[in-house]
Amino acid sequence: SAVISQKPSRDICQRGTSLTIQCQVDSQVTMMFWYRQQPGQSLTLIATANQGSEATYESGFVIDKFPISRPNLTFSTLTVSNMSPEDSSIYLCSVEDEETASYEQYFGPGTRLTVT
């Protein structure tokens, strides 16, 4: 199984600013996923990031608001731009179990973001 770390674990930010979240995996993976979990809610997929190509965004999420980088096979960043209180959420990155092809995903510990 993959081990995933995220930085920062939590942050409190002022509205109008931007925060970049880092996700590091201990093995090389093809796809990385970014999710948002709003307070008391389930997970919503923001985008899928493949190394060497533009991220694929889900309906309701746009690159200008959530730019993603994927410079190599073990690392990705998600930026939350021009933040508002509605962006207060837990942001999680995940990777798929590529060894078994079972579609199981492993998750990072999440970044808890509060926008004031």
Binding site: S102, Y103, E104, Q105, Y106, F107
Partner: protein, 115 residues
């Protein structure tokens, strides 16, 4: 399109009694199904998964789930609840109609354990 319905937003049981968390899905394909658990202020952990092998799947911490195709259900059970089981549980289905096999998440069930 696939979907997942967790029938209860909250389930409250006494310690030592059985746990049942209900999940129904809709799928046009042979799905893979998962249960994830999220303890307060902790990350998501896979409890168990069904991937077209045995219909009764055993997971960690004494949990198990049975895939019933005729009922399109994948309910999670545990014979005896422990205080440490208090958490949010998510039923998840994979959707092979998407090129990246997107996971479809249920809304979650909060499990409350009474002493």
């Amino acid at each position: 399109a696939q979907s997942v319905t967790q029938l209860d937003s909250h389930v409250s049981v006494s310690e030592g009694t059985p746990v049942l968390l209900r999940c129904n899905y809709s799928s046009s394909y042979s799905p893979s199904l998962f249960w994830y658990v999220q303890h307060p202020n902790k990350g998501l952990q896979l409890l168990l998964k069904y991937t077209s092998a045995a219909t009764l799947v055993k997971g960690i911490n004494g949990f198990e789930a049975e895939f019933k195709k005729s009922e399109t259900s994948f309910h999670l059970t545990k014979p005896s609840a422990h205080m440490s089981d208090a958490a949010e549980y998510f039923c998840v289905v994979s959707d092979p109609s998407y090129s990246n096999y997107q996971l479809i998440w249920g809304a979650g069930t909060k499990l409350i354990i009474k002493p």
